[in-house]
Symmetry: D4
Subunit: 240 residues, 8 copies
């Protein structure tokens, strides 16, 4: 753009205007950066919590003009209904509160992402990770209910885990599974503490602290119940 | 005693006096209940922290009149010196801060107590558990550095663990090992969180919370770094 | 099995298959380790929280094929209904959220387990411990409402407590009772903090911390409101 | 004073000046309210922590002009030395960090204040309470090392406790003793959590929470290790 | 009783029986110590939270046989209804969750108890304190909405406060009022943190910590929202 | 007034009475300090939480006699209805729980106050700040959805931000925006953590801690979700 | 600059270079933004903690080339020595850890900033605020030791406080003073919690929470012990 | 191995022995898994904290027999000395407590890893990340002192950041930088909270929580001050 200004093809005011208006579109309650996702080849995402159904719908409508796929996280039933109204193929996953528009199903990830859950109760978070990976173009291998208190269930799946390019591990309660998985594989492990538990689990805090202190060196951590974030980063890694 | 009063063998004042004076001896700064340990066949223990060396020595002197063995926990070097002055065979374990008098080495535990540590850094706490079990008359099998991030090291020792009547597991950081051990054995597991770690381990809090939330049902927990407590309870169980 | 392979009775592929498939059955959302409970002579348990009624029912159906008794913890009304649908003799305990199938009522515990509550409000947790002990084959002696602020109520029951082989103590608020009980008896005491209280009890945290810091050496602790866990460990100890 | 103004005996400016200057003396770094203690017949107290030895000495010098007795709390060795320089009869209690000037030893409390400690390690805090009560004109009955894990030691002293007009109870670790004492007596109990303990005692937090949640209704609580505060309030009550 | 045994007026078995049965009555879910309240001249109190309406009613029925007055704290509407069913004159105070039976209205307190609230929103807790003081035989002076941010409102009431024999101060948010009141009066101040506030008040924690750290030496603290406890202790003090 | 007493124009009793009664009006449940707001030229504010609709209405009625504008914060629907009943032009903002009476719309602030939100979900809190600034006589410039993860959206608005005399920044989750804004402008920045987020946001605690630790030196902080407080202080600054 | 490019006075590469290099100078371990302080007429500040004395000295040398005044916060003795080596007139304030270069002593603030401390022990933090205000060109009025437990000391200074354009209030322990001051004045109040206290003050947390929950609407808060931050913001406000 | 058993080449006992002894070497205090690092092509690492210098030296000696490179983390001066004794080319980095043996300097990472620090004080942690990446065969680009309060310093480096294959961001205080970096790049960002800060930073907790709640979706988090962990995972990703 500086070149255009230099050549006179663009006058200064217009350049300033373009600088001001180009990078995002302003809906008043939201500023949409269409460029970012396009530039990076990423899926658009809307954080649903604290937004009205109307706001989510408004944002989604503009994003879907330029994007095939879309994910809404932390959506309640009202937001889900608004999204289905907007686009009939929007899928709602009530357990994790995700709404997914998955029109472009091309696989772009280079390997498989393994999504592991410690218990049956952690599956909703694991599913959020899985559907995020899928909508971002990845093959997913789900391995559920292999917590450390039944270590043979985990070991019986170690070959599958070792084949994955990235591993996501969802666990509540003591959050011990990422350490055990981290010791088995040499790929990056993304740990997702879940709020499964009671009492001194303090809504996932115990699992979170456990994962942050993992003695396995290949573990990084995302927020409690943040299956989406784990799926997103795993997808970025799997594109490399 | 009521019978004696009834028969006149004991007059009321004497009975009251006995009631008042019998159960413990009053040193002013401490009231010693000789009866309790004798009655239960247990080893006498002094909690050293916050006591002066003189106080510990004074208490120990009286207890050793009636007891062969004695343990002082949370002892500093000054207390250790005072104890060695009192009794030359007192052993000092500086890492765990224990002083042990172990004159009666009879084995009374019915089986073996397994003492497991997740890492090398957890050994001082594990040693406190071990020396407590020993002084209370137990055979101990120590299995060190078998944390969950190297699960094969644990599995290679599973036969030994399964033979133990009680298992003590010491782990810092994420505190995941008790869950894995708990899944392997069917005996009671006593978990000891250690303060090994840094940052979000919060001096053992992460390990403590992890253990309290263990998904293995056979796990109970003691205070952070409380190797003594674990050894004590394990000894009680092993007497049954 | 290695012997069978050696002798040719089992070919290598079959052996590998058996290794892979034997230890558990895979329902997709859950991997059932029939062997573990059978091997250890333990009662099967399902953690109900975070599972759908369908999932619990599915798991229960498979477990009950091989097991006479079964416990579901943290079950809501929906899960309870599904369980009753599955098996009419399933009992639901709404206060603690337990569902129990108790078909084999053989006593295998060697002594009595005492279940103590500090207050009337702690009874639901104590009841969870009691029904766990029962379904695992133990005689239980319940001693309720003997908190430390009325120490004579506790002392009046000390003979009963001293006869128990293991003692479970449930207390909310300040959680002081396990220390007092621990001082009276020489058996292992399993302390269960309850979420009874308000304000600075922080949903059981005050009681939990109190119990972890007990000055009675024979006390170990389980998670807040975890009557089941206490009952389970007590049963293991009582089998020794 | 308004009357004096009315009668002309005091002019308005002088009245304003008196209002401004009377109630306290300004040392720059401290504003001394001589009137308050005089008015209430209370002992002067200086909180030593965070003050330089010079500041404490300066404040003490002015207060001692009008007051027979004086207490400095949280004093380090340097402050203690400065105080002894100022007044040779100043006593230093290094364990609790108190410096006491006790020239007027008249007893004004109407009954006895009982100062109870759970363990030997809690004695420094109990001593701070005791010396506060004494300097404020009270008879004190010290009952040490009667923690709940040896309940008979407490019961053997219950008659003494029941005779006290106010009871101060100092306890670390699980902080259970105030509840037990509160159940025995019908006088007000002031609970002082101490920082005695380790691990999950979190420097007295466990004891503090326990005491705040006491199921005995006659218990109020002061800050961790605040033996002074307990002694001060007990003295106020004992004057009633 | 020992004398009776000595003289033969009481045989040993009967004595033992009396020892066992006298001090309390056992309802199974509760052990009622009629003697304690009678002995101390105190009002009977039932902690309602976690008890069923049936349990509260059962306990209340037995207590009211021997006691004119009764207080149920933390009662929900169901418990209140059960109490009104039992005794038509039972008053229910829904804001604080108290049920009061106040048949004996004799004043036994020696002076006035002042009950102070920082804001209008703290009144429910203050009212719980007030009604407790009343049912225990005290004159109460209520001074509401005099928080420190309008210090003149407090000062305008300082004469009333200085006349009280005991002062109860209820405050949420920053919990600053007890310090200001403590500086004005020389009587004991009982501080009650309330859960009034939002955000970083953490349900009363901010006020609680503030009060525990009060720089006024005459302040002790009870649990968050524990107006009852404050009223109870104030009543004990006012009887002295 | 002292002068009036001096001259005899006011007798002493009347003066005392005026001193006692003037500064505020006592409604029993509330003491209204009309003088304060008048004296300072500020808008009257009622904290609605914990007050009954009747109480708020009663207070509002008295305040509106002397004040044109009024704000009720933390109002529920019932309070809002009572306020509308009292005065038809009262506006209710349900997202932030504010009720505003804005009859005097004179602008008295000297410059513009910028109200910034990190995300769309933070707008309710930002709106509370905005409506507070408006009712206190300020021009407001709202800049929404410019969080740090899309830094170009913020930079595109930096000119607007630099023109403001005071900047209010509302952000949940990691609460990073005030630091970035603080680095762009040289005016005072008031940071408002919002409770937007989940998991380890702990209801706004993460944002609060982040803002308190801001490396931008021009940032001060108010309570979580306290848009009102931020607007109030910004208004005070903008009057200077 | 865009205009210069347009006119050809600046070629595109040079413009890009200027854009890249102008705004700050890169020392490797630090990037100095000379423009910011110059642009805003602010004093340069270096956060000393975690930097080596060499690093601080290196940064200071460069800043002092363009700036008359400089403040180093959180400096240890080694840093202070390095600063004195660099510039003999650098003053070191060991209590607060500040090093100040104050060569330009012009007053630019429009009014007085009042710096208030609750106790003598809070003076070091108050002094950090004072010296920050001074070096930024403000008149400061220091009012020390006027905590809420001696409310008359505060009221006697209320006239001085009401004259200030901004008020800084430093308080530890319960942190109640900002609320009381906030109620007296109508200017903005910046509250600084100090780490003065012990036990449940948790190193200033109690004071911090108290201040965040202040019921006075004109209070904002900075980090614990952050006298510098308070002085900085007060200076910005006083320039308006 | 099963094949060997089948063929008779290996007898069953030898197979069992190999299973037991092969995977790791047992030093008593440590069990070394040579296979893991070899198998995965990773650098060997020893966690130094809590180990004696002798233990570290012993472990290092065995590992260096089979490995060219080695890292010791959390090493104190004594451990560093022991390591230098063992191998003269061991480098000690006292700020981060790392000891590095870097004999094989082959680059195996596919792209550049960018290591970013928010401030100068965060450099020690950033350096730990850098030296870990280097010893694991990566090119590193260090970008220091680009915190969000001077956003232009960050933007001036955005091109470098966008070229990196993985980005590590180290920040203390409010921990806001990872969100800003995450918004600029589309590669995975590994956030490392540092313990830089004071007061309400709570030793890195504020930064940790901020990063876990990052609104940038490409951010994962490791433990406080865990530069090593971030470097390790970044290296794994950069090998893909």
């Amino acid at each position: 753009m500086l070149e255009e200004v230099r050549s006179g093809a663009l006058n200064v005011d217009a350049a300033l205007d373009r600088v001001k208006h180009l990078p995002f579109e302003d809906l008043g309650y939201a500023k949409l950066d269409h460029h970012r996702a396009l530039r990076h080849g990423l899926t658009e995402v809307i954080f649903g919590k604290g937004k009205t159904a109307e706001q989510v719908k408004g944002i989604a409508a503009r994003l879907l003009e330029k994007s095939q796929n879309l994910l809404v996280t932390r959506a309640n039933a009202e937001i889900a209904a608004a999204m289905k109204e907007l686009l009939v193929e929007a899928e709602y996953f009530p357990l994790s509160g995700a709404v997914r528009v998955w029109r472009d199903r091309q696989v772009i990830g280079k390997g498989t992402i393994s999504v592991v859950s410690a218990g049956t109760s952690d599956i909703p978070v694991a599913e959020e990770a899985r559907l995020t990976c899928e909508v971002m173009g990845n093959e997913v291998d789900a391995v559920y209910d292999v917590g450390v208190a039944g270590i043979h269930r985990l070991l019986a799946n170690s070959a599958r885990l070792m084949e994955a390019r990235v591993v996501i591990v969802c666990a509540g309660m003591e959050g011990a599974l990422p350490s055990a998985v981290g010791g088995l594989v040499s790929s990056p492990v993304i740990a997702v503490p879940t709020s499964v538990g009671y009492g001194a689990s303090f809504h996932g805090l115990a699992a979170l602290l456990g994962m942050l202190n993992s003695c396995a060196s290949n573990v990084t951590v995302v927020n409690i119940d943040n299956g989406f974030g784990a799926g997103y980063v795993a997808s970025l890694i799997n594109r490399l």
